[in-house]
């Protein structure tokens, strides 16, 4: 699909995401100005503070944005019963963006004022201006061009960083970029990146023009105190309103999902099942990267999402790998109830574990059924593994040892590329995901884990205990979802989205109708 075709088909979504993006940037830059300019002024009055403050702002800029988001989500800070910080969504994203935007604004305010000709400052003081009068009537007007230059840099930083905010459900053009990255779809990536670049360029040009006008000095007046105060107050109110409106929805149940195709489908299945069988409103907080979905659930930002038993055991509880599915489920159930007050409901029925895959015709020709069969004939084989599999506790080293593999060569590459590499005979064995839609598409065969090396990754909706207590109808819906999906069905659903480019929402609706869960 060409980019123009994509835009014409998705015009409404594009404009929503663009507006979300502009909102994030405008609010963040606004707050950064309200904090950064006074702070920059303070530094010119107390030069001793300039090193620690600028140092802090400098360090904030070097913190990777995903790490900063992860750090902010578990926070739970209230101001008169109104949550002001923490959790997923636009608010946390705005806090992070403000931290990134502060440095250029503080620094330029500080240098702009410090660089005012000392003779001019002396003239003002000598004429009997108080410090405040000197600041508002002389220093700020003369430094305004430099301060605007700082705002310009901050804005461009915000436009760029706001794309990452999609990882914590803050919306914006980053959604397209993340979706595109996961689906290996360049059109989608461009659909997010191009408008974001245009916004950055537009903001840069507009503020650059303002900067030139102000630096030329012509027509620049110290705004009267009234105008100044009114402007500042309006800015504060608008930002406060925006900040607290964000994420305030009346809906009773928030369904989350992680940031890959299968999770988007499962999130839709859970959400639509609740919508179709209860009177509750459902909010979707999808595409949460890394462990953010778990943190959002624990923090009460969402009420339910689908987790995998093995992931909970290894990545959340940091336990040793275990291989008995029942034992694993029992462990995570107990630990989650005890540590997080979260409940594991009924397993959906499929196991999304590592799938050791070979080409279908190889399997037939060599009569391969189990991984042990493959280990016997693999002396001349090349293997292709994702970076993840090479490094994790239940990954390659234990796998090779358990089955006694000695490959001729191991290629480490992006997981999504290993399937094609296998189909095109560049490698002979890969470790994929058992539910991947590409397995039937490329006619691959999954070998049985006969020595039970891989932990089970059974998909199970995990919900907050208090939510289930308050809404027993939700518990009943989740129980009805138990055993609803086989591995083959999950592969088909995944392929319908990744291969046929259908929307997860539609795929989930068709599936639930077929199963008689909704009408």
């Amino acid at each position: 699909m060409s980019l123009i075709e994509f835009f014409s088909r998705n015009g409404r979504e594009l404009s929503t995401l663009t507006l979300e993006h502009l909102f994030l940037v405008a609010v963040s830059t606004g707050i950064a100005i309200l904090i950064g300019v006074p702070l920059g002024i303070l530094l010119t009055r107390k030069p001793g503070l300039s090193k620690p403050v600028l140092g802090f702002a400098n360090i904030m800029q070097t913190v990777p944005s995903l790490a900063l988001f992860g750090f902010l989500i578990p926070l739970n800070i209230y101001f008169f019963h109104v949550k002001i910080l923490g959790g997923i969504g636009a608010r946390t994203a705005i806090v992070a963006l403000v931290l990134y935007a502060l440095l250029p604004i503080i620094r330029n305010t500080f240098t702009g004022i410090s660089n005012v000709d000392p003779a001019i400052r002396d003239a003002g003081r000598g004429m009997g201006m108080t410090d405040r009068q000197l600041l508002f009537q002389v220093e700020l007007p003369l430094a305004l061009g430099v301060i605007i230059a700082g705002v310009r840099v901050a804005t461009v930083i915000c436009v760029g960083t706001a794309t990452i905010a999609a990882a914590i459900d803050a919306g914006g053009l980053g959604r397209y970029i993340f979706r595109g990255l996961r689906a290996n779809d360049n059109t989608l990536i461009l659909a997010g990146a191009l408008p974001a670049a245009l916004i950055a360029l537009g903001a840069d040009l507009a503020l650059g023009w303002l900067e030139r006008v102000l630096q030329a000095g012509r027509g620049m007046r110290a705004p009267s105190k009234k105008v100044f105060a009114t402007g500042a107050l309006a800015l504060v109110l608008a930002i406060a309103a925006g900040y607290f409106l964000v994420g305030k929805s009346a809906s009773a149940i928030a369904v989350g999902s992680k940031d890959f195709t299968e999770q988007a489908i499962l999130g839709e299945i859970v959400a639509q099942a609740i919508e179709g069988n209860t009177d509750l409103q459902v909010a979707r907080r999808f595409d949460l990267g890394g462990n953010l979905a778990h943190e959002a659930l624990a923090a009460g930002e969402i009420d339910v999402y689908v987790e995998y038993t093995g992931t909970a055991l290894l990545a959340i509880l940091k336990s040793r790998p275990l291989t008995d599915p029942k034992e694993v489920l029992r462990r995570v159930k107990d630990e989650y109830a005890r540590r997080f007050k979260l409940e594991w409901t009924e397993p959906l029925g499929f196991n999304n574990t590592f799938a050791i895959l070979v080409r279908g015709d190889d399997a037939r020709r060599l009569k391969l059924k189990t991984i042990t069969d493959a280990a016997r004939v693999s002396a001349q084989w090349r293997a292709g593994f994702g970076q993840d599999f090479m490094s994790r506790a239940d990954g390659y080293p234990g796998f090779a040892q358990t089955y006694g593999f000695h490959f001729q060569e191991i290629r480490e590459m992006d997981l999504s590329l290993t399937y094609r590499a296998l189909a095109e005979k560049q490698v002979d064995l890969i470790a994929g995901n058992s539910t991947d839609g590409l397995i039937p598409r490329y006619k691959l065969a999954q070998l049985e884990d006969d020595r039970r090396y891989f932990p089970p990754y059974d998909a199970v909706p995990v919900a907050r205990q208090d939510t289930l207590g308050k809404h027993p109808e939700v518990r009943r819906v989740l129980e009805r979802l138990g055993g609803i999906l086989t591995v083959e069905e999950m592969r088909q659903l995944n392929y319908a989205v990744d291969g046929d480019k259908r929307a997860p929402r539609d795929v989930a609706r068709d599936f639930l109708k077929r199963k008689g869960m909704i009408s």
């Binding site: 000709d117 003779a119 001019i120 002396d122 003239a123 003002g124 003081r125 000598g126 004429m127 009997g128 201006m129 108080t130 009068q133 009537q137 002389v138 007007p141 003369l142 000095g217 012509r218 620049m220 007046r221 110290a222």
Partner: protein, 264 residues
């Protein structure tokens, strides 16, 4: 006025500004001014003459309390500067510095109106005052009021600077090398105009310069400074008769210039 100050004003009724054993030492220990005793009489123009670094500007900044003395005391209108509210003190003292002192982001009219505006004069009165002052310093208000400083010549800027210092009718005016950056011809013109203005206004003025000719044109008395010390305080003519080497050095400049015919 409080009684304790009344004593001062009775014994020295005619002094507008007085320095008593004043020293000024930088935090690093360098002495910029040592044991200065000096009196500026009401209505006179005292010229502070000296080379660069002799302490002229430091002396001036002590008067409007841009700096405080390290030792001794400075009195303005019989009251120690450290007892003055610095803001009130400065608004009673006009201040002209080299041409950079005009605010580049304000028009000529706004520059002149700065102190009246700080004093909350009504807008109409500020406007009238600005235009009257422009006329006084020889600038056509209709042509110049709305211009920005960078649209003026050096001489015009200096005239605006003087007008600005006069705006709130301060009894004392400080001028720190106000004509230093002008070409010699403009400089002579403006000196003579200023002389006329001075005779009209009869203000107390302290005028810093390193140009002895200027001291002769404008000074009622001259204070010669060298390395932070006062060497001579007398009427300008006395400078030519002084045996002190620094006075003779300045006197030679003056007579050289006259003999070569460049000065009338």
């Amino acid at each position: 006025m409080r009684p304790v100050q009344l004593r001062n004003s009775m014994t020295e009724a005619s002094s507008a500004i007085e320095f008593r054993d004043v020293s000024f030492v930088l935090p690093g220990g360098r002495t910029l001014l040592a044991d200065l005793n000096l009196e500026v009489r009401e209505g006179e123009t005292l010229v502070l003459l000296g080379r660069s670094g002799s302490g002229k500007t430091t002396t001036m900044k002590l008067i409007n309390r841009l700096i405080d003395p390290s030792a001794g005391e400075v009195q303005v209108e019989g009251k120690r500067t450290v007892d003055w509210d610095p803001i009130r003190l400065r608004r009673r003292i006009g201040y002209v510095i080299q041409e950079v002192g005009l605010f580049p982001h304000l028009t000529v009219e706004e520059n002149i109106g700065v102190v009246p505006r700080l004093e909350n004069w009504p807008a109409e009165r500020i406007r009238e005052r600005s235009r009257a002052l422009l006329a006084l310093v020889g600038l056509d208000a209709d042509r110049f009021a709305a211009r920005f400083p960078r649209e003026l010549s050096g001489g015009q800027r200096q005239r605006v600077g003087v007008a600005r210092a006069l705006a709130a009718e301060p009894p004392v005016i400080l001028l720190d090398e106000p004509f230093g950056a002008l070409d010699p011809i403009t400089r002579r013109e403006i000196q003579h105009e200023f002389k006329t203005l001075q005779q009209e206004l009869k203000k107390t003025m302290v005028f810093v310069t390193h140009d002895i000719a200027e001291a002769f044109v404008l000074g009622t008395r001259v204070a010669l400074l060298k390395d932070g010390r006062l060497i001579l305080l007398d009427e300008p003519r006395a400078l030519l008769r002084s045996p002190h080497p620094e006075a003779r050095a300045f006197a030679e400049c003056f007579t050289d210039a006259q003999n070569s015919g460049s000065h009338a």
